[in-house]
Amino acid sequence: MGKHTFKVNGESVTVEVEDDVRLLWALRDILGVRGPKYGCGINVCKACTSHINGKAFNPCAVPVGEVGEADEVTTIEGLADTADGDLHPMQQAWIDYDVAQCGYCQPGQIMAAVDLVRRVRAEDRAITEDDLDTLRNICRCGTYPRIREAIKSASSKM
């Protein structure tokens, strides 16, 4: 059992648990940060998508021992604080387009969407249908068309 210190949503946290426990469980079961959802545990459904140092990752596939003191983990709960205003523009777009149905996949969808827009921005171009096709997050409620619309709209506001 080791002590693991890292930042979650702007605050430094320390968890005492075996190194190989995946970060998703350190967040959900030990720290009580339950925005990131479980949908597969093997990095395919993307329901757990969060950010590490501003980039999307899947904590179900990262041992807590690999996260260090310098690492900043942002979950859906901390996303709004990374932007001006009450909500992140992506969250606002999700509300404007009434994207969520059951909502279970949506924390992961939003975190993945923010990352996609960031990467497209870095290439200094507008988001395309092909870019949207690369999103791997499952939505079993089938909210995909609204997700596409919301991302297109938010990408101009981020």
Partner: protein, 780 residues
Amino acid sequence: MTEDNRGGEPGRREVGRRRLLGYLVAAPTLAVAVRLGVDMTAPSEAQAAGTPVPTPPLPADLFDLEDTQNYAAKPTAHLITLELREDGSVHFELPRMEVGQGIMTSTAMIIADELDVPLDQVVVTLAKARPELQMNQLTGGSNTTMSTYYPIRTAAALARGALLEAAALMLGGLKPNSLKTENGAVIAPDGTRVSYGELAGKAAVSQTTAKEAELKSAAERKVVGTPVGRTDARDAVTGAKQFAMDLDIPGALPTMVCKPPTINGTVRSVRNAAAVRAMPGVAHVAVIATGVAVRARTFGQCIDAVRALDVDWAPGLVGHDSDDDVLAELKDAELPLAVPEIPALATTVDTSFTFMFSSNAALETGCTVADVTADSAEVWGGFKAPIVAKQEIASTLGLPADAVTVNVVQGGGSFGRKLFQDGGLDAALASQAFGAPVRLMWHRADDCRQGRVHPMSTSRVRATVLGDQVLSYEQRHTSARTDFGHGYGEMISAAASQLPVGDYSISQWVYTLTQAAHYNFGPTTSLLNELTDRRFNTGAMRNIYSPNTAVARELTVDKIAATMGKDPYEFRRTFVREERSRAVLDKVAEVGRWGRDMPPHHAQGIGIHNEYHAYTACLMEIDTSPATVNRKVRQAVTGPRVTKVVFAVDIGLAVNPKGLEAQMMGGIMDALAIVLTSSVHLKDGNFLEASWDNYAYTRQWNVPFDVEVIVMPSTSEDPGGAGELGVAAAASAAANAYARATGTTPTVFPINHNSGLHFEPYPYSPPIPQSPTNGLDYVR
């Protein structure tokens, strides 16, 4: 789309104000109650026939599953209560389950409208299991709004009346009908405002009394019929929305069950329980009826423990069967097609289709929190049939039913899965075995392989055609057993005496009550034969039989049209039985520009479906060009892509057009999966699929670029059912588009089922895969 959906527009028949009975309930603040199930809509009338050979109505045309559910509600229904608090908030416990279909939002809208209170002051929660409601607490059959619309409005109207009376008294003996209500307050003629909160105590009664309520007329509606976003939208996007596994129940530690390597296998013995108990974080290991339960500090440690268990398993009942074995059983069971005598010159159109097993798993797996003690049990989970859950959990634990509390938590999707309480039973058993509270979650692999499947089925159709007439239409659907053990049974037997047909099994009732005659094709029959053996874990998937029967029907309709040399749209226009069908059909043809020029390998397809007192039509455009079909996406199915969808829906009264659009869109995504990409493969006694990289549900790379849902202007004062409504018409449009683009009518669905796996199946032992450790390698 806004004004269109409000009742009372010029030219439509004004329905007089309805007066319904409710109760003022003795309570410290205003509380009103009504029975569920009062004053439901009458069964629809059979439509007069046009020129084509008229088809007499099938049972579902006269008295469908909705009527059955509504009828079943009547004699057994008990009271549902609306309560006003001193802060002006209105509270209502909905005896239904929210799984994303938007009923908490639409219920709040109905209350807000009838009571004249702002939407954000209406607090809708989900009721615990209430056995006194009997079959009136089942969320299925897309029935929620239909069965609760009038009861909830009655309660709200009664409350409004009581508030007017209390305010009249308070304002010095004014006449109640000189006052009006607006935005959560009563307004006097001189403009004085008295807020509902101030009146909450004054309007209370000390003795429960029956009272008649007068409902608003359609013209007075302000909220119902307008597009409203989900009331939990903010919680959903901030991570605040809680599902079962997000609840903090003291002492409830993560728990998983090591499931058998064969379907429904059982534990003979565990060889290393002590060693597993000594693993890091592990607190408990115990054999339960469905496997070996482990309880640990984290789910990660549960996964490790499940994988480390060395169990001697007894096999289940499936043996070494594969898809073909089940298909052979279905072929043996197919009912004969018996065409009435036809003229010598008539031609026969014969079709036959196979629909493979598919998975109704939601994104949230089987999840329940349970706290079982020696003499009581409490569970928290997404139960669509909580009364059945309560009974089953009690009998499994050996407790009296009233010692079991079932809390209903919003679910992360359902699609039929949450009608059953498989995870709930596991949780209760594990908590009992451990003597400790558990937060039990199924692993995704178990949700796929041990969870429920929509049964494999075949559908055969025979139609006879003479000149410009269709003389007869027969459909014979044959299915592996569908488990309806969640309570449709009691509901249907409650209503059976009202039904116009003979002595059927539950499955046959459901089938008969959901399959309407869509066309004037002369004598029409649609019959089900269902296998009876129980070796698979099955259940209905969203829209039950209809996505399959509709695909078979609508593909056959295209073939009949071709036999006559007619255009598929024009043909349908001529032969549809109901005006409302024709209207949605015309709408999609017009908006979707039916018949426009399409490039090679591209085509349009069209289909219709009526169910749940509603009418739908769909037009799709598909791209089957090699460049599209052969796209490569890792661990995924690409194939043909539907590029554009136009869908029209006439649901009578659309309570929330925005929510309705979302439901249709979800149904369209399901339809694409059923037709083009997703099934489970049975091989050598097991299902191969174990996760979302195997089960190819619709993904972004399969999604049409353009999806337009048109909500037709209100055609009725009564709402139809929405939750499952979108699937069937969309699936048939996709199938027809594919057939027209490729020139070949597919006979097996999904079309890719027999074209090789896109994945290497995960092992069966250990039963669940380990989580990878290379997640950071993918950070870009």
